[in-house]
Point group: C2
Chain length 168, copies 2
């Protein structure tokens, strides 16, 4: 594998999303063992005005599929944010990974200089694909994936950084 915009995006997203799915498995097992309603974990947050676990996972999914689609010159697919169980979040992660793996790596050729337009309210922000990947997509993706992990750790689920990083 050599350096490319595809190599710097899709495998990073799929790997961390896969690790996040395994982390959710551990959360579900923890809830069962401790007789905790899994919804308590899914609705947990680190501060009242921060997003709960479910939303953190949805946003990690959104940033991954949004980034890969935009860099490949496609419209990001819209997933409804309707998950209320661990199984549904797992399905969303699986669907995200499937989408990511389905994009032809060749579609990322030239994506570093491709113009990416992002709309926030009434303003359109334009970036090169490289700036978008480095300073928006990757930081946002890892921000939400890590915060999902942090919420579960804070709630006593036995996880270690290896669960987040994966074994190398």
């Amino acid at each position: 594998m050599s350096l490319s915009m595809h190599a710097m995006s899709v495998p990073i997203f799929t790997r961390t999303l896969g690790n996040l799915a395994a982390i959710l498995d551990k959360a579900a097992a923890h809830a069962q063992a401790k007789k905790i309603d899994p919804a308590v974990l899914l609705n947990a947050r680190l501060y009242p005005d921060m997003f709960a676990l479910t939303r953190q996972v949805q946003l990690a999914s959104d940033h991954a599929k949004g980034a890969a689609a935009r860099l490949a010159g496609q419209e990001p697919p819209k997933f409804e944010d309707v998950e209320t169980t661990v199984e549904q979040l797992q399905a969303r992660i699986a669907r995200t990974i499937e989408f990511l793996r389905g994009i032809d790596a060749k579609a990322f050729d030239g994506a570093d200089t491709r113009e990416i337009s992002l709309k926030f309210r009434d303003t359109v922000h334009k970036h090169s694909g490289l700036v978008y990947l480095c300073h928006i997509a990757l930081p946002n993706f890892f921000f939400h994936a890590t915060t999902a992990y942090d919420i579960l750790r804070h709630n006593g689920v036995e996880l270690g950084k290896r669960d987040f990083i994966g074994s190398n």
Copy 2:
């Protein structure tokens, strides 16, 4: 700026470290306004067996300088982990950014296929530079930077994701 191993590492690290320094400024201002000893925030953690804020910042620094040095074919500089104040953590971040900016971008040429050896206890793990950057360096860096942010948010410091991502 075009795609390169330098572009995919150094600017990502320096930007997020700069944002982390600004986040620590807000934490110090919050502590002063609320008459909280800043050491309370520096020693805060999300769970008893997780690292406290100070260590999260040190580790973000370590992963950034370690990754950039290794990819550039250099020995990572050793910084002593002795910080006990916000000012000292700021100085560490500044020193890390200075080191990152001081590496010649040309030293990263071919880093995607360069063999990177990592020693954990008695085992040496070998990876290509690309795998190391994608699956070890970036996830670890963002893991610790995000957890630093999460610790401060959890302790009531008024921050938003924009503080972490920066304005685009």
